[in-house]
Amino acid sequence: MSGLVAVAPTGTLSSALIFEVAARVFKGITPCTCEPVSPEMAVPMTGWEGVVDFRGPGIGSIGVRVSTRYAEILATAMAGEDVRAMPAMQADAVGETANILSSSVMALLYGPRRHVTISSPKVTGDIADMPSGPAEGLVRLGLLLDHEHLVQVWLIVATEPAQEGTR
């Protein structure tokens, strides 16, 4: 996703604010401590990534990538039973987390009354390089949960000028 143009107000597209939202989401699912770390820290290649696309005042994507171990914790917390032997449940939990996070970030970026369409989450176990884009349109976060589980969150915001303000 190169060549994108940021539309979110500079002050709004802030790592600190999105970190707060992400921390609230993760704490809401699995009670945990949450601290920011460098997004450059490596996530194990045996993990999951959930991506949600959005279209509203801006167009873009939000992604969440977690290790297999944390996906197991997420899925078990959501399902209320041990689903460590069920990779489909883990993928599902990561997709649902991306979905919940995207709704919260959309409310933060555009306010509760703006129309934003959010795609179903796409989940993959094939983690590639972190996405790149222009600095003003890309936010990358690292979160450390319980001083142990590294989670990466990224957000790319772009726009189609012809549709700006029409919804």
Partner: protein, 127 residues
């Protein structure tokens, strides 16, 4: 009297989460059925007596809105109590859900107690 509930969500893990929350409710539960989209849910509703539908909004094949609209327009299904359980938190989504008959609206992630209170409140008014 026990209540039959239909959980509609394309996420299997969320259906389990909702099912677990329902187990905490003080109202007597009968059958708890599941569907993974609106289309499948309407099929279940045509075959089984359901007292309460808990539905997600953003689902493949048929969204929760379309399912609720279809239910609202049906003589048979229009009276069934419905609660939306979704990650969508915009005012537009809440207004739209209410317009198509949703009795409650719960944003994910939710605490089991929140769902329990909403279900008990909704079924209390039905029973």
């Amino acid at each position: 009297m026990s209540f039959n509930v239909l959980i509609v969500d394309d996420s299997a893990v969320m259906r389990r989460m909702v099912r677990r929350a329902l187990a905490l409710c003080d109202v007597p539960m009968g059958k708890i059925l599941e569907a993974s989209d609106g289309e499948q849910a309407l099929q279940v509703l045509s075959e089984a007596w359901i007292d309460l539908v808990l539905t997600d909004i953003n689902m493949p094949h048929m969204s929760g809105y379309t399912m609720l609209e279809t239910m609202q327009q049906s003589d048979d299904l229009g009276a069934i109590a419905t609660i939306v359980v979704t990650s969508e938190k915009s005012a537009e989504s809440i207004d739209r859900a209410k317009a198509v008959g949703a009795k409650g609206y719960l944003v994910k992630p939710f605490r089991a107690e929140e769902l329990r209170a909403m279900v008990e409140n909704t079924l209390g008014s039905v029973g």
